[in-house]
């Protein structure tokens, strides 16, 4: 695992454990059984593996946290360097192994313990394991909301790794290159640099110039992120880029718009200027106490009354051990829900406005900021907007 300079990994794990314990006490929960990998990461420090869901649910580590214990228990995985009690791997898709797990949790937390889980596999449903109905994801989600300095440093380090790999990808995205060529440049850089995990199949999507030319959507807005097969890029393609990579269990979120093989024309450059105006207007408002709705209103104003983000997503989302987590503003939960989101120091959010002009196309990019006592700080900022002139 790549521990960024200045990060005290052990302290970070201790502080997270204390937060989980506090949430468990508040919810009167005796034990957590965690299968959802970002929750396992939060509880134990074990990063999400770069593996498919079928492998993850069959083989990935399980974390058990017992109220009052000093350390969580990690079943399977690689416990080296982690602040947890290692135990033998358990495969949660096998009936016989989950029977063993039940006995171990009962031994640690007592036979009548109130146990919260985040995912039931088939064997857990069949054997009626921990069906109290307490949602461990919601509990861990409350613990995850505010980030410590160590956590913020990990997110920033992940973003810098993401930026560096994207430089390689940008150089590879030339006319006649395939998506596979660009992904090869991106992934080889990530792996070479020792990043824990690539979190999503990276997006290098050639966008339609008009919504009507793109895939049909349920919202009538442009489709993103989509993509099947291995397309070839052509000169002048407008490419929306999105990726997430993990350092020390923390996610990053890269978003940019590129033009393949040429400089942007005047109409495309104008899209970027409009996007920058939106981003600047949002930045200007960010401070503790400001609501999600304050930011969506600022964004809409800067875009002359239109909504400058994708209809099926949000203006911003939180980030931490998951690449998109709460809070989210600008969603279909509506303005009242946005007004209930109040920014606090230690929150980390990803701003992802997108502007669209039908016939020209769109510009979309992302920036991560953390809320500070007096305003905000951009994490992993300074990455180029090339080929657009800043």
């Amino acid at each position: 695992m790549l521990v960024p300079e200045g990060v005290d990994f052990d302290r970070m794990c201790r502080e997270r454990h204390a937060r989980i314990q506090a949430e468990m006490a508040r919810a009167e929960v005796d034990a957590l059984v965690l299968l959802h990998q970002p929750n396992v990461t939060y509880a134990t420090g074990h990063p999400v593996a770069m593996a498919d869901v079928s492998h993850s649910l069959s083989e990935a580590p399980i974390a058990v946290v017992v109220a009052g214990d000093d350390h969580p228990t990690l079943f399977g995985g690689d416990p080296k360097g982690l602040r947890c009690k290692p135990d033998e791997a358990v495969r949660p898709t096998l009936d016989e192994e989950m029977g063993r797990m039940r006995a171990q949790v009962a031994a640690a937390a007592g036979p009548t313990a109130r146990v919260a889980v985040d995912w039931w596999t088939g064997p857990m449903l069949r054997h009626d394991l921990w069906r109290d109905g307490i949602d461990a994801s919601a509990l861990i989600g409350r613990a995850r909301r505010i980030k410590t300095a160590d956590e913020i440093a990990c997110i920033e380090a992940a973003q810098l790794q993401n930026n560096a790999a994207m430089e390689q990808a940008a150089a590879a995205l030339v006319p006649d290159a395939t998506r596979g060529d660009v992904v090869a440049a991106f992934l080889s850089c990530l792996l070479e640099n020792g990043v824990d995990t690539n979190l999503i199949d990276p997006i290098f999507q050639a966008m339609p110039r008009s919504i009507a030319d793109g895939p049909r959507t349920t919202t009538g807005d442009v489709a993103f992120p989509t993509g099947v097969g291995n397309p070839i890029y052509h000169q002048g393609d407008l490419i929306w880029v999105d990726s997430g990579v993990d350092v020390c269990g923390y996610a990053s979120d890269f978003g940019r718009t590129w033009v393949c093989g040429r400089q942007p024309n005047a109409a495309e450059q104008a899209l970027f200027e409009r996007w920058r105006a939106v981003m600047a207007a949002v930045h200007e408002r960010i401070a503790p106490g400001v609501t999600g709705q304050d930011l969506t209103v600022a964004a809409v104003e800067a875009a002359d009354g239109t909504k400058p983000w994708l209809d099926h997503f949000y203006l911003f989302h939180g980030i931490g051990v998951e690449s998109a987590e709460y809070p989210m503003a600008g969603t279909d939960n509506g303005p009242e829900a946005d007004a209930r989101i109040v920014l606090e120091p230690g929150m980390v959010i990803v701003l992802e406005p997108a502007v669209w002009r039908d016939g020209v196309g769109g510009y979309r990019a992302e920036e991560i900021v953390t809320i500070t006592d007096s305003g905000y700080r951009v994490l992993g900022g300074g990455h180029t907007y090339a080929p657009f002139a800043a």
Partner: protein
């Protein structure tokens, strides 16, 4: 067979399996299950995702509903009006799922996973329904591969072999494990669209302990190492992979004879993977360390090792990942993993021959 035919065949199998256990509704949250049933591709993300109704099948009518805001990547089995666009609003999600014909009256709903939150939602939307695990039902549909699935797996293995060759060529002169892993994954990626099935592994084994985690590190590979390389990818949704041990600047009669011993052990284990064999019979031929598991759209059942899966019964048409390993105190670990097609007679080794 066109991919549309394959998608229809998988759908028919799954629906029949759901009928056989008397399900009214089948709700799937796992990407592999969703693709198997509906032919629809969802964005690959590492690890698990929170459980949700990504695909919903009304077993009686055969109607399918899929979570997607756009029609790209969605198969012909799902009409546009049956797309459930991405929503963050609990009431919207509940309204759409509740509007699926027959869900409110359902007596039995099968799921491939469940979270407490989703369990509460189902209890509200389908108050009379018993919610049951559908993993065995899905396994029943998936375990014996159709010929087109075997062809897809062969293709995936071909891509993994390209990665393996690139890794072998990169293994020299003090480069790091990470460098070799990056080179291997890049070589595979240039072949087209793929996603990691399991963690790409390039790892020098240790002469001190057998167990080594997956993945790679920034450790430089030095002469005299036994390096475990295991690469597996999802290509068109099907997993192809293999594992080999490469000796770096290390040769000699002892190593050669140990390699022969490993190959012999693997041959014995593979030969036991015949139709009609039980897990216990497979285990009887096993070396010191081993694992046999199903493979298809990723990691599948059965799982057979020293302590589990002894009741499993192998059937012709299953594809298995078969791995053997031996620990050599003076060198490290020698291992190999192959993919095998179970038949009535000799199993066919789909990876390069032993």
């Amino acid at each position: 067979m066109s991919s549309d035919d394959l998608i229809r065949d998988r759908f028919a199998r799954t629906r029949a399996a759901a009928r056989a256990i008397d399900l009214d509704i089948l709700i799937l949250g796992r990407r592999d299950d969703v693709r198997y049933l509906t032919g629809s591709e969802q964005l690959w993300t590492a690890g698990t995702r929170p459980f949700g109704a990504v695909a919903t099948l009304v077993v009686g009518s055969g109607d399918l509903y899929v979570l997607s805001t756009w029609e790209e990547g969605v198969s012909e089995l799902v009409p546009f009006e049956n797309l459930h666009g991405i929503s963050w609003n609990a009431a919207t999600v509940a309204g759409r799922l509740g509007a699926v014909p027959g869900l409110a009256q359902a007596r039995r709903i099968g799921v491939d996973g469940l979270s407490p939150g989703f369990g509460q939602l189902l209890a509200m939307l389908a108050p009379d329904a018993e919610v049951v695990a559908a993993d065995h039902c899905l396994d029943g549909a998936r375990r014996v591969k159709l010929p087109a699935e075997v062809a897809a797996i062969r293709h995936g293995i071909g891509v993994a072999q390209v990665a393996m060759e690139a890794a072998r060529l990169a293994l020299s002169g003090g480069v790091s494990e990470n460098h070799v892993a990056g080179t291997a994954v890049a070589a595979a990626s240039r072949h087209g669209r793929l996603q990691p099935a399991d963690v790409p592994t390039v790892r020098a084994t240790s002469s001190r302990e057998f167990e080594q985690p997956k993945g790679s590190t920034d450790t430089a590979i030095h002469a005299g190492s036994l390096v475990r390389i295991d690469l597996s990818f999802l290509v068109e949704g099907y997993e192809g992979g293999l594992g080999r041990t490469v000796a770096v600047d290390l040769a000699g009669p002892t190593l050669n004879s140990e390699r022969d011993r490993l190959d012999e052990a693997q041959c014995t284990l593979v030969a036991r993977c015949r139709a009609g064999a039980t897990g216990a019979e497979v285990a009887a031929g096993a070396p010191e360390h081993w694992l046999v598991r199903g493979s298809g759209m990723g990691f599948e059942l059965p799982v057979i090792d020293a302590r589990t899966g002894h009741e499993a019964l192998l059937e012709a048409g299953m594809v298995l990942s078969v791995e053997s390993a031996i620990f050599l105190e003076s060198f490290g670990t020698l291992s190999r993993r192959d993919m095998v097609l179970v038949g009535d007679g000799e199993p066919e080794v789909l990876t390069p021959p032993l």
